[in-house]
């Protein structure tokens, strides 16, 4: 499944390969369907990642992070994140691909808060120094928690607003959510049996994403009739 080029596809996608390596990889891609397929997967993830909205944290996260990693929080100047923010660059190595697929779902779930009445834009955060990289397993776990939180938020919006929607519409939304939930449950069981299967992980992530999208659509309907 992998060869000498597989782990360099992410660099290729980011335009970070030297010209000679780039040319050699492009020649390789013309014959290697496996690398072509992995590259297509990576492109899909990067495309979706670029479509996500950057969302500022609702509160200053740095003191908590600093405390957990044993650094002195001290007095640090507060900076405007917009001034230091750079375009999100997505670079995955192959082993991260599976986790990234699921993580993206939760990341994009962040937009759920935009629909939530209590959403408040943050005005500034501390400029944080580099922190140790999280492991893939941790990232997946965090992503899973964020996904669950986003779903719970949207379900609450829908629940609170269901009285404002036509009963037939509510029934249709609930039926379709049940359809998606059933698909998610089947995909989860399949992933549990074959956790390294890229397709199953990607399918699970996309089906979860579909649930978020439907919930967002339902929340938007509630908000449009408020």
């Amino acid at each position: 499944m992998s060869d000498q080029w597989t782990d360099r596809l992410s660099e290729y996608l980011d335009g970070e390969l030297p010209p000679e390596d780039r040319a050699a990889l492009e020649t390789h891609l013309r014959h290697c369907t496996a690398c072509g397929a992995v590259l297509a997967d990576l492109k899909r993830i990067v495309t979706r990642a670029h479509g996500l909205e950057d969302r500022l944290p609702e509160r200053d996260l740095w003191p908590g992070i600093a405390a957990r990693i044993g650094l002195d929080t001290g007095e640090r100047p507060v900076v405007d994140l917009d001034a230091v923010r750079v375009r999100r660059q997505v670079s995955f190595s192959l082993p991260q691909l599976i986790a990234a697929g699921i993580g993206l779902v939760a990341l994009s779930g962040g937009t759920a808060w935009l629909l939530h009445p209590s959403a408040q834009p943050a005005v500034a955060v501390h400029e944080a120094p580099a922190v140790p990289a999280v492991t893939v397993a941790n990232r997946s776990s965090v992503a899973g928690q964020r996904y669950a939180a986003a779903v719970a938020d949207l379900e609450r919006v829908l629940d609170q607003g269901r009285g404002r929607l036509d009963t037939t519409t509510v029934r249709v939304i609930e039926r379709n959510l049940a359809t998606i939930d059933s698909a998610i449950a089947q995909a989860q069981r399949a992933v549990a049996a074959d956790s390294a299967n890229v397709y199953l992980n990607s399918h699970l992530a996309e089906t979860r994403q579909r649930k978020l999208e439907l919930l967002r659509q339902a929340a938007a309907l509630v908000s449009s009739v408020s």
């Binding site: 519409t169 698909a183 089906t207 309907l221």
Partner: protein, 301 residues
């Protein structure tokens, strides 16, 4: 009883207003229609003008205005939400449309401009559209034909069907089929959770085509001469082909790829538990229809 019904009907008729208004349309203007319920039927003519015909009940007013880049038509309830209003609107073919409603069916024919439609409980049937064409319904089916450009068709609970169209296409639903026939997509992203899916049209060199369903079959029209790298993924489904395919690689799970012709286009076919079929062009819909009949027979049993 009959007398009572008859007099009630006469009263209702008397309360209807007849609206037939024509306003000038300046090149570049868009038509924006906001209707709570009823039907929006848009046709085209050769005049640079917008004609609005409707017969709203008296408790609902229809406001028609033209300012800046927009000709606007909207229904307003005098007390509470507006009643159902059926509109017939005639526009120049160059006029972009932005049509929305809640309990609203939308029908458009002949427009050669961007079109946006959003409804909750209603069918969408559009023939035409150029540039960005975005059609959405929650509970109704969405049909689009004779369109070109960046196409986004979306339903939740019904079928999505695109025919005789070209460009970058996104077609999604949750509980319904996705049918793409005589479509020339430069890129395609088609997805459903509980439904079948079919694409019958050319596969372009360098194009990217992704068809994905959880619980349904996928039918893709192709030949040995198609230039595509095809990745097939399934969990418990099957794969069938009208012609032999040169299998290049099998991955763990039921995932494999093969190359047709020069392998230029990237095609991804994913069905969690359905059958993925490669058929020769023109056979996709027959195959689907036969399966539909089988399904109906099963239902009848």
């Amino acid at each position: 009883m009959l007398v009572t019904l008859a007099s009630g009907a006469l009263t209702a008729l008397a309360l209807l207003q007849q609206i037939d208004t024509t306003v000038a349309a300046q090149p570049g203007q868009r038509l924006v229609v906001d209707s709570y319920g009823g039907e929006i039927d848009v046709k085209t003519w050769g005049r640079n003008a917008v004609r609005v015909e409707a017969d709203p009940p008296s408790r609902t007013s229809v406001e028609i205005s033209s300012s800046g880049g927009v000709v606007s038509v909207r229904s307003e309830g005098r007390r509470g939400p507006p009643a159902t209003v059926d509109y017939t609107i005639t526009v120049p073919a160059w006029m972009g449309l932005d049509l929305s409603g809640v309990y609203t069916d939308v029908k458009v024919a002949g427009v050669r401009a961007p079109i946006t439609v959003e409804t909750v409980q209603g069918e969408v049937d559009v023939a035409g559209g150029e540039g960005t064409v975005s059609l959405r319904s929650v509970q109704g089916s969405v049909k689009l034909s004779n369109a070109k450009g960046r196409i986004d068709v979306h339903s939740v609970n019904e079928e999505v069907r695109v025919s005789n169209a070209s460009g970058e296409i996104t077609a999604e639903t949750v509980n319904g089929d996705v049918v793409l026939e005589q479509v020339d997509a430069t890129s395609l992203d088609a997805a459903t959770v509980n439904g079948d899916m079919g694409y019958d049209g050319p596969i372009r060199n360098g194009g990217r085509y992704t068809l994905s369903t959880h619980n349904g079959d996928i039918t893709l029209a192709a030949t040995e001469k198609t230039s595509a790298t095809v990745m097939v993924s399934t969990f418990s489904g099957d794969f069938e082909s009208d012609f032999p395919v040169p299998l290049r690689e099998t991955r763990k799970g039921r995932r494999f790829s093969f190359t047709l012709g020069g392998g230029s286009a990237q095609v991804s076919l994913e069905s969690f538990q359905g059958t993925i079929r490669l058929v020769r062009p023109g056979h996709g819909n027959q195959e689907r229809d036969q399966n539909d009949h089988k399904d109906h027979d099963r239902d009848d049993d």
